[in-house]
Symmetry: C2
Subunit: 140 residues, 2 copies
């Protein structure tokens, strides 16, 4: 079901994100945009663009991994709100955004998409953020 040899990460997602963890169903990747803690779950299943196209067992795994990620983001960042979304208008490969929102962030209360340009992390901050998330995942 999650045979890595059958999974090809979309090149745009690969370009915009860095790998944090590899879970049972999903790759967990950080959006390289320091304006928001923004993590994307990408089920390692080729040819799927909608959640309901996943097998039921995969849907359950996605829910579980989304909740695990949400709890980690809440513990690490104490957000005002999480934004969780499967859009896919630009990149059809199924991917689920999990974005930590604060009332003073770059686009609040609007959604983040299409507002300004991404501000890539500097290398140290990128390492710190990835490490912080990896540790939070282990504690959950």
């Amino acid at each position: 079901m999650t045979d890595p040899y059958a999974f090809q990460l979309d090149p745009q997602l690969e370009k915009d994100t860095v790998l944090i963890s590899d879970w049972h169903l999903c790759q967990v990747r950080l959006m390289n945009d320091s304006r928001y803690p923004w993590v994307i779950l990408i089920p390692k299943v080729d040819g799927v663009s909608e959640i309901h196209e996943l097998a039921e067992e995969q849907q359950q795994l996605l829910l579980g991994e989304s909740m695990r990620l949400s709890k980690a983001l809440e513990q690490l960042f104490s957000p005002h709100k999480l934004n969780i979304a499967a859009l896919g208008n630009m990149v059809r490969q199924l991917h689920v955004h999990h974005i930590v929102r604060f009332e003073n962030d770059a686009s609040f209360p609007k959604p983040v998409w299409g507002v300004g340009d991404a501000v890539p992390y500097d290398p140290e901050a990128l390492d710190e953020t990835v490490n912080g998330l990896q540790i939070a995942f282990e504690l959950l």
Copy 2:
């Protein structure tokens, strides 16, 4: 758990939407914006603004109802893409958008939020849309 006496629909959601169906966990409501087939699931649980705050059993029900709705939208409308999102930056009561997107719709490929103004259905089209969805739900 879903005692209706313990659930108060947010006034903004009530104003923007009309009831289509009442499911086990969620109210199923149509956004009164004829630019997109746009249906919102609102778990009948007070005081919850994040999916991970639901009890695990409620999370499972939400997943099931979201998939049922997604399949109905796909069958009725054959969308280019579904957009599914729990944002809640404006209205904190947990609600999950399910929006049917086409490449020629009013905001594609952007997300729908904040693009132009809602175009309310005329009464006949509203009835037709609600009835069409109710019938599709019964067939699934």
